[in-house]
Symmetry: C2
Subunit: 442 residues, 2 copies
C-alpha cells in the first residue's frame, strides 16, 4: 500500500461531484465546433472550424425557422428535434415512439416538480405519495415536496448490488398508505450514487409491482450512456415494457428521463434533456403540450442533443467522434471502478461493484464511540466522518446521508469521473483516514 499523500493545496479536493467537465472529461471537439459555428455564422466560411462541422452547422441553421439560434425556434423545439429523439428511442428499444410524447427539458431537476404537480390532487385531503429510492438523488424527494406531494423512501438492497427489492417497496407503500396516496414509483437506472445497473428480471418485477399497485413509473434513466459493463448492459424500462407485451405495454404509465449532462458529451452547462411519456393519461400529457411555463432548453443545448440522437455511422466524422468518446468514457469508468475496488480492498471499507454510474457509495465502519461523539455534536455520523476527513486530508466527500442510506449504515460518495491519479489520491486518503479513524475511536 503506497504511503499516504500529504494534504494538498488550500482548496479542498471535491471527490464526489458528477459534473463531468468539472471533473476532467474533455468535451467532444466536433460538437463544440458545430455549436461555435451556429453561434457565430461567419465561421461557416472559416477554416478555423473543420469542414465536417461547418456543413452540419449550416444544415442545422437552415432547418431553424428563425434561421438563427437567437430566436425561440418553437418548431425546431416542438417538432424537428422530438422527431429525431423518437427515432433514436425506436432504434434503442425496438418499440414505437411518438414524437408528440417527447418533451425537451431544461434538465431533469427542473421538470420534475412540474410533472409531479400534475399528479397531485390539491383538492384531496390525502396527499399524493412518491416512492423514492434510498440511496438516490435528493432531487426526487425535493421535487415531490415542491409539488405538494409526500416522499416515501424505499431502501435499495445493498447486499444484492443495490437492486430494487420489490417486496420492500411494497412494504413501504403499505405503510405509507396511512398518511398518503402513493401514486408514483421513482426508479433510477443506472443508479446514482450507487452505480448499479438493474437486471432485466428486476425490471420485470418492478413493472409487475407498478401494475398491481396502479402506480406511475418515473424512470430516471439519465445515466444510460455511462453503463460500461457489457455483461450488465443498460436496458430501458420502455423496452422491457414493450417485450412484456399486453396488457403491460399498453397500460403501464411510464415517464422516462434523459439528460445531456450525464450523456457521453457530459455537457451539464447546456441544460438540456428530454422525457418520454408512455401510456400517460391525457390530463398529464396535455399541460406538457400546452404550457408556456415549462422550463425550456436553450437552442444550442437542443442542437447538441439532436446530434447525439443521430444513428451510428462509421463514415460520418461526427458519429465517429461520438463513438470514440463513448468507448473512452466506458473504458475510463471500468478502469476507475477497478481502481476503487483495488484500493478499498486494502482497507476495511467495502463497496458494491458498479456497472454503470459515475459515482460509488462505499460503506463506512464507524465504531460505537464515533457514533456517540457525532450524536453529542448533533451531527449525522457520516457527516462527522466527512468533516474529519476533510480536515485531515483536504479531501471533500459527500456523506451518504445526503442521498439517504439503509438504516443503521453509513456511507460516503466517491466520484469515478476524475483522472486516475486524482481518484487514487482520493481513495488513498479515504482508506488511510478510515483506518486511522477506526483506531482513534476504538
Amino acid at each position: 500500500m503506497p504511503a499516504m499523500p500529504p494534504p494538498v493545496s488550500d482548496a479542498p479536493l471535491d471527490g464526489s461531484s458528477d459534473d463531468a467537465h468539472a471533473m476532467g472529461l474533455a468535451p467532444v471537439t466536433i460538437l463544440r465546433q458545430i455549436a461555435a459555428a451556429c453561434t457565430y455564422p461567419e465561421l461557416l466560411e472559416d477554416p478555423a472550424v473543420p469542414e465536417g462541422a461547418r456543413c452540419r452547422a449550416q444544415r442545422i441553421l437552415q432547418e431553424m425557422e428563425a434561421g438563427n439560434i437567437g430566436g425561440y425556434n418553437h418548431e425546431h423545439r416542438d417538432l424537428a428535434v422530438p422527431r429525431r429523439v423518437a427515432r433514436f428511442l425506436q432504434r434503442r428499444d425496438g418499440a414505437p415512439s411518438d414524437p408528440r410524447s417527447i418533451v425537451l427539458t431544461n434538465g431533469t431537476s427542473s421538470i420534475l416538480p412540474f410533472m409531479m404537480s400534475l399528479l397531485v390532487d390539491v383538492t384531496s385531503p390525502c396527499p399524493t405519495g412518491v416512492l423514492v429510492p434510498v440511496p438516490g438523488p435528493p432531487v426526487h424527494a425535493g421535487a415531490a415536496a415542491l409539488a405538494g406531494a409526500v416522499a416515501v423512501p424505499y431502501q435499495l438492497a445493498e447486499e444484492r448490488g443495490w437492486a430494487v427489492d420489490v417486496d420492500m417497496v411494497r412494504q413501504e407503500l403499505r405503510r405509507a398508505q396511512a398518511r398518503c396516496h402513493p401514486k408514483v414509483l421513482c426508479v433510477v437506472n443506472p443508479g446514482d450514487p450507487t452505480g448499479h445497473v438493474l437486471s432485466w428480471q428486476n425490471m420485470v418485477d418492478i413493472i409487475q409491482l407498478v401494475a398491481e399497485e396502479n402506480l406511475l413509473l418515473l424512470a430516471d434513466e439519465g445515466q444510460q450512456d455511462r453503463a460500461f459493463d457489457p455483461d450488465h448492459p443498460f436496458v430501458s424500462f420502455k423496452r422491457v415494457l414493450w417485450e412484456m407485451g399486453a396488457p403491460f405495454s399498453s397500460t403501464i404509465q411510464l415517464v422516462s428521463f434523459y439528460s445531456l449532462s450525464k450523456s457521453i458529451a457530459g455537457e451539464s452547462g447546456f441544460r438540456v434533456g428530454f422525457l418520454e411519456l408512455v401510456n400517460v393519461e391525457q390530463g398529464v400529457v396535455r399541460p406538457f403540450q400546452l404550457a408556456q411555463s415549462i422550463p425550456r432548453p436553450c437552442v444550442l443545448g437542443r442542437i447538441l442533443l439532436d446530434i447525439l440522437m443521430d444513428p451510428p455511422d462509421k463514415g460520418d466524422p461526427i458519429q465517429q467522434a461520438l463513438e470514440e468518446q463513448r468507448q473512452g468514457l466506458c473504458r475510463h469508468l471500468a478502469h476507475q471502478w477497478q481502481l476503487l475496488q483495488e484500493v478499498l480492498g486494502q482497507g476495511s471499507l467495502c463497496c458494491q461493484p458498479g456497472q454503470g454510474g459515475a459515482r460509488a457509495c462505499p460503506r463506512l465502519q464507524l465504531p460505537p464511540r464515533a457514533l456517540r461523539q457525532a450524536q453529542e455534536l448533533g451531527l449525522e455520523p457520516d457527516v462527522f466522518f466527512c468533516q474529519q476527513l476533510l480536515e485531515a486530508t483536504g479531501v471533500l466527500l459527500a456523506p451518504g446521508s445526503e442521498f439517504g442510506q439503509p438504516e443503521g449504515t453509513y456511507h460516503v460518495v466517491v466520484s469515478l469521473l476524475p483522472p486516475a491519479p486524482t481518484l487514487e489520491r482520493v481513495l488513498l486518503a479515504l482508506t488511510h483516514f478510515h483506518a486511522t479513524f477506526i483506531q482513534a475511536f476504538s
Copy 2:
C-alpha cells in the same frame, strides 16, 4: 393611400411575434464571437475571432470554476454573475442591491409558476389571488393557474395610454375578495402588447395601493431596453420605491423580472433572465437560494447576460457595440411606431401611442352584424376578424382576446420588430382589410 398589396407567398406572414431575431433584429456580433470562443476555446488563438472578443472570452473562462462552459459552474451562477447584476441595478436605480437577492432564471415564463407556488397556501380553503393586467402577456395568468392560484384580471385604461387605473384595480380586488385572497399585483412595464411606459406618478400610485392592500408587487420589467422615447423613460419600480423612502422602501415586497429575450441583444434562444427580490419575506427567498429544482439558464446565456450588465465604457469595443445596438433598436422602434400611426391614421383603426414596447394593440371597429356572425360561428369577434384577414391577405395577426381586452372592445396585436417594408405591408393589409370588412358587415 398606396394600392393594397396582393397576398404574398403561401406561408402566412406573422405580424405579431415579439421574437426579435425571428423578426429580423441582427445579433450583436461581438457577443456571438465571445460565445463562440467560449464554446470552442481553440478560437482563443485564432484570428477568425477578433482580439477584443478573444480576450474577453479568455477572462470569462478563467473565472469559471470548471474552466469550461460544459460544467455546472454553480459559483459563477450563484455568486459571480449575481454580483455584477447587483452592480448594474445599483447604477440603474441609485439604490442598494444585494447579490443574494438576485436569482438567474431560465426566462420569466418558467420561473413564474415556481415563484407563485411559494405564495400559495395550499392548506387554506380560500385560494390565493393574483391580479393580472388586461391586456397583458397570457403567461402571468397561466402561471397563477399552474401554481394553484386564481388570476384576477384588471383592465388597463386604454384612453389614458394604457395606464394602470388604480381605482379600477382596487375595485377588482374588492370584488375578487369574495372568491379568493388577493396577494399579488402583476404590472408589466413597458407594457406588452400595449407598448406603454408607466409614468412616475402612476408608479407611485401603484406602490401606495400595494402598501394599503398588503400585496406583493410583481413587476415584469423585461422590456426595459425597449423604452425608446426620451420623454417617457423607463424607470424601475425599485427606483421609485427607493425614492419614496421609508416606510415604502423598506417594507414593500417587490419582485422584478429582467429577460435577455427582450433586451437589446434580443437573444430569446439562450433562455436567460434574472429576478430581484426586494423586501420579500424569508419564506419565499429561501427556496430560491436552496432549491435544486429552479429552472437554470445555460452557461452561455449567463455569459451574455453578464456582459450586458457591464457599465457603459466608450473605450471598450464590446460596450461600444452594445451602445450602437441600443441606439439602433430605439431608432427603429420609434420609426416603426410612427409608421404605425401614419398608416393607421389613414383608416378607421386607432391605436394608443407607444413609448417602449415591441408590440402595439390597435383597436378594431367591428359592426354589429360582424359580432352576430362571429357569435353564430362560436368565435370571439376579434378571432373571426383575424381569420378573415389571414384568408384575404396572408397576414397573421394575434387577436386581442389572446391577451385580454377591456370589455366590449376588440383589438389586434401588431409587432413593431420587423423591417419597415414588412411592417408597412402588414399595416396596409390590416387597414385595407379593416375598411373592406366594415363595409361588408354594414
